[in-house]
Symmetry: C2
Subunit: 223 residues, 2 copies
DNA sequence: ATACGTTAAGTGATAATGTCACTTAAAACG
DNA sequence: CGTTTTAAGTGACATTATCACTTAACGTAT
């Protein structure tokens, strides 16, 4: 089956050599498609499945009382929702909300199956732990960035990783502010500055990079 | 043995009823004491043990190039180092550094034993996952706080949770800045403001709370 | 007890970000 | 075509961070 191969490619740990159990997991789980813009979970929700994302992307955000939001991370193909997993095991309240950014195709492993394979398959455990460690490290990096890095640098970095000279970025200043944990006005002004310098060209809902190198020079030396 | 009881009390998951394996773990691991101020791990270190803290406290921080630091979290009695665990399994680079804040007593479970029990004991898995989820949630809360909460509120909260009218807080403004991810000068000014309002009394290395309620009123309503 | 070096805290100027209360402009839709 | 919606711009002001210092308190050795 095509799908099965895709899955095994995305989650190699499930197919590791001498671990026959891993593969069986696929027979006990359920495919699901979820449309864009769906709230997959919010604070306090309970969850009954371990979710693996096969295609599409989910963003996990937290919101302040005054409405400001910040994106904690994105889950894309090959990722799993560690918050969901965490709740699967310890059943605490979600401190965040998950929203699909595109239509997604996901694999839901029911709680009992999840627990069974956590016990039986070392490879599956590794897969799960890997997601956890990964997420933890990304979160720590986020803390580092929002506390220390200047906004122009973070913005430039975002622009460079999400667009290029030929492929404009389609997003709003508000979405960008959420992505970087800043305020819309601040992003607007910063972008305007970039535009004045001739580094980008702005249009409603679209940002075109016109000078890649100048933006890249803003970033700290690669390390 | 006294110690054994202490450990079982701190890590109840290790002693859950029908899970005999959990208890055996204790026979394969090693006690260790580490003096205050020791760097337990830094970026790039490799780690060979799963660490459980029995007494004392470790702070985990990350540092910017310009020297500014922020405390990510503390590990205290009953906690385990999830970063260490993460590295135990996936062997990525540490994005942070761990420093003992007091002398600590810890239990080191060697990697092979750790993996063995992860497979055999559901209770142990639960214990480990619980630490993970916990940490994840705390980190998300931290992101929320540093991006949204105002400094006076965060400072007031810190003062109230770490001291009271009769028990002064012994720390420096610099340490406080690190704890809250701010700059020393900013903390000094904010504290001075509190002092001017008669809410605290400042002395070198010591902060005394003189008006608990006023500080508490700064905090958002309990929820 | 005094002097000296070290660490903690204070200060003023300035830059960067965030917040508020709007206005203006572009797109979407009946 | 006019009316909503949604996106973006703006000025004034508040908060926080940074820089380049100064001042004060403490520990230690003479």
């Amino acid at each position: 089956m095509e799908l099965k191969n895709t899955i095994l490619q995305l989650f190699p740990k499930l197919s590791e050599a001498n671990d026959a159990n891993g593969i069986n997991i696929l027979e006990h789980c359920q495919q699901m498609t979820i449309p864009e813009g769906t709230i997959v979970f919010h604070q306090g929700d309970q969850c009954l499945n371990y979710l693996l994302i096969i295609s599409g992307s989910v963003k996990v955000i937290t919101r302040a009382e005054n409405g400001r939001e910040i994106v904690l991370y994105h889950i894309t193909s090959g990722g799993s929702c560690v918050l969901t997993t965490s709740c699967l095991i310890s059943s605490e309240d979600y401190p965040a909300e998950g929203v699909t950014e595109t239509d997604i195709l996901a694999l839901a492993i029911p709680k009992p199956i999840f627990e069974k394979y956590m016990g039986e398959s070392k490879a599956f455990r590794k897969q799960v732990f890997h997601s956890y460690g990964d997420r933890l490290i990304k979160l720590i990096t986020l803390v580092e960035e929002i506390s220390f890095a200047k906004l122009d640098i973070r913005l430039a970095k975002y622009l460079l990783t999400n667009g290029s000279v030929n492929t404009p970025i389609r997003t709003t200043h508000q979405a960008l502010a959420t992505e970087l944990g800043s305020a819309r006005e601040v992003i607007s002004r910063q972008l305007k500055e970039f535009e004045n310098k001739g580094w980008v060209q702005l249009n409603r809902g679209k940002i075109e990079i016109t000078n890649h190198d100048a933006l890249a020079n803003l970033l700290p030396a690669t390390h």
